[in-house]
């Protein structure tokens, strides 16, 4: 079942490639239908998932474990739990949004659809992997897929941005591989199996070696996330990428990094994680404040959103760091922090995905992302203005949207362990409020300065509005998500407190 969910997009992509002379319309609708089927399958997975983590721990749903490369004891081992399932659903939803958004696209649509379907398989693959080599393969292929999306369909400076993106994140994944090999060598017997590694906790009490392995893994994931100071590939990649590419890059690919923290770094290196929690928290807080402040200074709408991603990912790093600190004292705080981190991954995916699609609409209407070139757009495009306002307020963490649920949990759960750091990171939500309101005012309010632009089309609305609806549903009724995440977060808490 899980393998079907993961590889269906790839199969569709293969069919699209194999069948000659397909009309563009057929390609588009095949893509949309395949993505929609994926969403349905994700819902089926969600509904059918039974939480069996209670008690002994390490229980995964839909688990499959086949021999793959037995010589290095690496298997085709996949499965889901309360942390990965929401991200799988998020991935399916975002890819569907991008498919719908691209319905009116004409430029080499077949290759574009094939690439996106490939990327969908790869991203889902990362979230289901329970084997480090499998994880690494999917993790790396995501970089390849995104490289071609940026280089093939980006704006003016696309080749340079794509190359920088590729080399930088590839470097990160090499660091990650180094860390994985370290884990492999330390394990007894040697294995790449994540469940076995988690159970073994192979580097317990091995001071420097453990710290070096954590450093390698942390740097690898931090580049992907990205956190300060490894973030500089992000703004150019986003600015040059096509709208749908940016939405996937921010919405899903960044989550591969943060997901790695909670799936690999925390449970497999618990005591090292606790020892270095203060440093991780520091990286998180710096990302929060630095990302927000640099975003405040941007004149380019898309670059600004890219930097707010650094800020939002910073909250996650803060939370996972604090979960390592408060582990010994307060179970509820720890659970709140970890649950908040997962909620933030989902929430950021929905909201920032929508914002990047909206930025794509802006570029299509005005041919530039420069804030100064617009003004008073709300007069001619009320729906566009309304939806952007909703997305902006969601992104600045207004209650009623998913971002608040995530950030409130992160703040409340992190404060007992790291009061000063958390209090400092509060300032992040004030600065993001300032930058979003300012950007919104420059684009949409005041007297109209440009010639009349067209409002959102039906396709664009259908692609973007559901993301905001989901953000509101999560923001008002978070239980359906939290019921899934909280048990997994508790398990994570016990694992990291070992």
């Amino acid at each position: 079942m899980l393998s079907i969910v993961v590889f269906l997009p790839l199969a569709v992509a293969a069919v699209l490639l194999a069948v000659p002379r397909l009309g563009d319309a057929v390609v588009r609708w095949t893509w949309v239908v395949a993505s929609a089927v994926e969403v349905v399958l994700a819902v089926v997975l969600w509904v059918g998932y039974r939480d069996n983590t209670a008690g002994a721990g390490y229980g995964y749903g839909y688990e499959v474990n086949r021999r793959w490369i037995p010589s290095v004891s690496s298997g085709y081992h996949i499965g889901v739990d309360g942390i990965s399932l929401p991200l799988i659903a998020l991935t399916a939803v975002l890819f569907l949004a991008c498919a719908v958004y691209s319905l009116r696209m004409t430029d080499r649509i077949r290759s574009f659809a094939v690439l996106f379907l490939f990327l969908e398989t790869v991203c889902l693959g990362v979230f289901v992997s329970l084997d480090l080599i499998l994880f690494f393969v999917f993790f790396d292929l995501s970089i390849v897929g995104m490289y071609f999306v940026i280089a093939g369909w980006g704006h003016r400076d696309r080749v340079r941005a794509a190359l920088q993106f590729f080399l930088y994140t590839f470097l990160g994944s090499l660091a990650l591989l180094l860390g994985f090999i370290g884990l492999y060598l330390a394990a007894e017997p040697n294995t790449f199996d994540m469940v076995a590694l988690t159970e073994q906790n192979p580097l317990a009490g091995k001071g420097t070696v453990a710290a070096l392995v954590l450093l390698a893994i942390f740097v690898g994931l931090a580049i992907k996330t990205p956190t300060v100071p490894f973030h500089t590939w992000l703004p150019p990649a986003h600015t040059e990428a096509p709208a749908a590419g940016s939405a996937i890059l921010a919405g899903v690919l960044l989550k591969l990094g943060t997901y790695g923290f909670v799936r690999i770094a925390m449970p497999m290196l618990p005591d090292t994680w606790r020892d270095w929690a203060w440093a991780i928290i520091a990286v998180g807080v710096v990302s929060v404040l630095y990302g927000a402040l640099v975003a405040l200074a941007q004149q380019n709408f898309k670059r600004m959103i890219a930097y707010t991603s650094v800020n939002h990912m910073g909250y996650i790093v803060l939370a996972v760091g604090a979960a390592g600190l408060v582990s010994t004292s307060d179970e509820q705080a720890q659970s709140l922090a970890s649950t908040g981190a997962v909620t933030q991954m989902v929430s950021h995916g929905l909201i920032t995905g929508a914002l990047f699609l909206l930025a794509g609409v802006l570029y299509e209407r005005g041919g530039t992302y420069d804030l100064g070139s617009y003004g008073g757009l709300a007069a001619s495009t009320p729906r566009f203005a309304g939806l952007t306002a909703v997305a902006a307020f969601a992104s600045l963490g207004l209650p009623g949207f998913s971002g608040f649920i995530a950030e409130f949990q992160i703040f409340t759960g992190s404060l007992p362990g790291a009061p000063v750091a958390t209090a400092l990171s509060f300032l992040g939500i004030l600065v993001t409020a300032a930058l979003f309101l300012r950007a919104f005012q420059r684009l949409f309010l005041g007297p109209p300065t440009k010639t009349v632009a067209a409002d959102l089309t039906a396709t664009e609305t259908v692609a973007i509005a559901p993301l905001m609806v989901l953000a509101v549903v999560l923001g008002l009724f978070p239980r359906f998500l939290l019921d899934l995440v909280e048990p997994a977060a508790h398990t994570l808490g016990t694992l990291v407190s070992r």
């Binding site: 090999i181 409130f408 992190s414 404060l415 300032l427 939500i429 005041g446």
Partner: protein, 605 residues
């Protein structure tokens, strides 16, 4: 029932916002209907006192509860909401967006005053702030009005961070459910942090000194917005929160002192600012800060009943005053006091309503604010004499600005004033004004006793006969003097400009923040990204060196050998094609080699 109370305005408001322009024609009736339903539900829940709760976050629920204080608050909010929306029906340019936002705004206030946990409170609290942003910037085509909304939202949100702090500190202190009722019993240290956060959030929301400037900018919104924002919602929320959490302040003496003096000083300073204003709406705005200052003073001196009484009396009074100012603004397009001379003679219904409310605001016996303010002052007197004297001086100032406004609108003016006041406008005013006057019954001790029992468990001191007399005489004397010498009231520039608070906030907070942001952005481009680019360039340079020197030497050697070796040399250069997928293929090969190596390693052991 309680869910219904908060759901009706929020859902109706949300539906109006979603429908947009299509709903313009039905917006006013739908708004009024939702408000009337909310009023009916308010009365029911005030009688029944229900409590509801839903599981929300890990260990933290979303809870609503109606106790005596909440009962008084929900009725006040609903009454003012109905009146304001009836008034707004007379302004055709206010469309569905306006009515939708007003309902959301009031709905959020209803949740605020019934919330039992931090998460509930904070959600409603911030939604209210966002709704105020959209309402203040309602006429968004004018840049100044739009940025006024931004100023208001950012100022209040900056203060709201206090609530995030308080929530985290409450959890750290052991209040696992984040209940608002558990805060007073937290251990020292964390309780102090909670109190500091709550005080910051409340002072910001209620526009107390030094946050008052956002309320001046809030005047750029439509008048009905001001009437709601200044009376029963938003600024009142700050006062309410302090009254609700008075036990926390009681357990944290320094916080109570900060609150008491903060309120008293705001009442004094902003009262002086109000006297100096030349714009009627600005005068009323400054007076709001000052009057809310009395509520805050009451919360800091354990006078929960007194503060609540002041809140209700002020809500009725101030909504009338703003609606009157709005009616004149619509009719005449004028809002400066010189332009409004004699306007009460031209529109007597509005004029009389305005006068009744303004006289109440002045603290003239036997109207409402005279009674409630004296209870506040009695609590202050109980606490400390200087606090009482500052409060009394502030009371004298409120008599001064109210009298000045009344004297000007009744001035004999030879000019004809054109314009019309609609029937919707007139319908809303007299009932509210009557309420503002009649609440003076609170001065009757038995009535007050009953009221105090409803809102508060502990009873504060009541004013003695001489206190009532002193404040009454002071109010009458100052009001009389100002009315006689109305054109000679001094108005220093500092007071006219709201003490320069907005400029101060801009120079001290906004500008340094912008400068830091710009500096960091440059740092990011040049140093952080520059470092990455430099190391990449170094790598490329290194590769060139290898290519030119090492390869050249190797090549030279190879050239001396047989053709086969030369072909091998060409092959070796081939992978350096500069094409990414080739590099990638090489990396995969390297990976495979690595895997083999690992294999050998693991077998070797």
């Amino acid at each position: 029932m309680l869910w219904l109370l908060v759901a009706v305005p929020l859902l109706a408001g949300g539906a109006l916002l979603l429908a947009g322009r299509r709903a313009d024609r039905f917006a006013a009736p739908i708004g009024i209907m939702a408000a009337v339903i909310a009023l009916g539900t308010s009365i029911t829940v005030a009688a029944r006192r229900p409590a509801v709760s839903a599981s929300y976050l890990d260990g933290v629920s979303f809870g609503l509860n109606v106790d005596g204080l909440s009962a008084v608050m929900v009725i006040t909010v609903s009454v003012v909401l109905v009146a304001v929306l009836v008034f707004a029906a007379g302004e055709p340019e206010l469309n569905a967006r306006f009515h939708g936002l007003m309902l959301v705004f009031a709905g959020a206030m209803l949740v605020t005053v019934t919330a039992t946990t931090f998460v509930t409170l904070l959600m409603a609290w911030e939604v209210m702030g966002a709704a105020s942003y959209a309402l203040i910037g309602y006429w968004w085509r004018e840049s100044r009005r739009a940025s006024s909304g931004t100023v208001a939202f950012l100022t209040t949100r900056g203060a709201d961070l206090g609530l995030y702090l308080a929530a985290g500190a409450a959890l750290a202190g052991g209040a696992a459910s984040l209940g608002l009722g558990d805060l007073a019993s937290l251990p020292d240290g964390w309780r102090d942090v909670v109190a500091a956060g709550v005080v910051l959030a409340a002072l910001g929301k209620s526009a107390q000194f030094p946050f008052s400037f956002w309320l001046s900018r809030a005047m750029d919104g439509p008048s009905p917005v001001s009437a709601l924002l200044h009376s029963a919602t938003m600024v009142a929320a700050g006062g309410y929160l302090l009254l609700r959490l008075q036990p926390l302040l009681g357990a944290t003496p320094w916080a109570a002192a900060v609150v008491a003096w903060g309120g008293a000083l705001t009442a004094l300073l902003l009262g002086a600012v109000a006297v100096a204003q030349t714009d009627l709406k600005q005068l009323l705005a400054a007076s709001t800060c000052a009057q809310v200052g009395f509520m805050v003073l009451a919360a800091g001196t354990a006078g929960v009943a007194a503060g609540t009484g002041q809140l209700v009396a002020h809500a009725l009074t101030k909504s009338v005053l703003f609606l009157c100012a709005g009616a004149w603004l619509t009719a005449l397009g004028a809002k400066t006091l010189p332009a409004l001379r004699g306007v009460a003679r031209r529109f007597p219904v509005v004029g009389i309503s305005f006068t009744v409310a303004a006289v109440a605001l002045a603290g003239v016996p036997p109207l409402s604010i005279w009674a409630t303010k004296d209870h506040v002052l009695a609590n202050a007197w109980h606490e400390s004499t200087p606090l009482y004297l500052v409060g009394l001086a502030a009371a004298a100032l409120s008599a001064a600005y109210a009298a000045r406004a009344v004297a000007l609108v009744w001035a004999r003016e030879p000019n004809e004033l054109p314009g019309q006041v609609t029937r919707w406008h007139q319908a809303a005013l007299p009932p509210l004004a009557a309420g503002a006057a009649l609440l003076g019954v609170l001065a009757v001790p038995t009535v007050w006793q009953r009221f105090a029992e409803i809102v508060s468990v502990q009873e504060g001191p009541s004013p003695s006969w001489w206190e009532l007399l002193v404040s009454g005489v002071v109010a009458l004397a100052v009001a009389g003097a100002v009315a006689v010498f109305v054109d000679k009231v001094p108005a220093p520039a500092a007071l006219r400009g709201w003490l320069g608070l907005e400029t101060a906030a801009r120079t001290l907070v906004a500008k340094p923040l912008d400068a830091t942001a710009n500096a960091l952005a440059r740092f990011d481009d040049r140093v952080v990204d520059g470092g990455v680019r430099t190391s990449a360039a170094l790598g490329a340079a290194f590769a060139r060196v290898v290519d030119n020197r090492v390869e050249w030497t190797v090549d030279g050697l190879v050239r001396g050998l047989a053709r086969m070796f030369r072909a091998l040399g060409r092959l070796a250069r081939r992978p350096q094609t500069g094409q990414l997928h080739h590099y990638y293929a090489q990396a995969v090969v390297a990976l495979a080699v690595l895997a083999v190596l690992l294999l050998m390693l693991s077998n070797g052991r």
